[in-house]
Symmetry: C2
């Protein structure tokens, strides 16, 4: 699949997944895509835990309430270290966001679906911390997001978006020269 | 180009660019790739200003000190609105980072090079604000990054990175089952 097609075909999938094991080589390729993302001052603040052990997945989903992505045969948990790139500047959020976007595109290219789940697990009920405990993540890493991965069982839909001319201009704010 | 290849071939390019105009259709496709990125609660906090007017480019580069990407025939300026997605949660950084990563991949697919320039213009000397003034960006938008775009004149190099086994594991932190 061409890059542009993967970008345009990526949508957040919140439906059920087929009960089909994902080959390790696909999971590794998706992870490698994540690690290939740029990072501020090359600090490589993002790390990944790929989960395809069904017992561990079950334990994780016991703390992810309300449930989401529960039927996916695998997930990738995204860890960050909020360290300074230089002085007091930290680009950890930019770093993991770029890594997540790369992984979402690789997931689409390989014929799977996913959804960027972050707010749900980093809210006041601290689900991400509970997931991190299950995965024995040390305290200097933070589990900030996860991506369920699997073949979609339901229809894929895309949300309504603003038109391009409301968000993109040439040579000045709100200039339209398309 | 396949998505995975674009992901693996994307590197931050800090060299000089060829003096070759970039077709508007390529610039638009790159911008569309950025706008197609997901955003927290679909708030679409990211907007773009594509600059290919040589006079305006010159004005912008007069405030970008030290100079970077000066020889590129075009740039895309990335704007954000730091609004709440829900309650007090704001995902504006994640949103624009995903948009930037999409654009960097589209840039590579189309045969161009670029570099994510953010820290340089959002530091204490507030270069981003000066650029925003030149582009008449209103106060509720913030200019947080820019991407020079052009055909590379120099060799493309990639930084040294940690090995995958230092950043990616299966089913638990630091578990290696590759």
């Amino acid at each position: 699949m061409k890059t542009i097609d993967a970008i345009m075909n990526r949508h957040s999938y919140r439906g059920k997944y087929r009960n089909e094991k994902i080959p390790r080589e696909d999971l590794l390729l998706i992870g490698e895509a994540g690690l290939a993302a740029p990072s501020g001052c090359n600090k490589q603040t993002t790390s990944l835990i790929i989960v395809d052990d069904q017992e561990i997945l079950k334990k994780l989903h016991q703390v992810i309430i309300p449930h989401i992505g529960e039927s996916a045969p695998a997930m990738i948990c995204v860890l960050t270290r909020r360290i300074y790139a230089y002085r007091d500047r930290c680009f950890a959020v930019q770093d993991y966001a770029a890594a997540i976007e790369n992984m979402l595109l690789a997931i689409v290219e390989l014929g799977y679906q996913s959804c960027w789940i972050e707010g749900h697990i980093t809210d006041t009920d601290r689900i991400g911390e509970k997931m991190a405990q299950i995965l024995q993540v040390p305290e200097n890493y933070e589990l900030v997001a996860f991506l369920p991965i699997g073949v979609a069982l339901e229809e894929i839909s895309s949300p309504e978006k603003l038109s391009s001319s409301q968000r993109m201009w040439f040579n000045g704010f709100d200039h339209c020269e398309f």
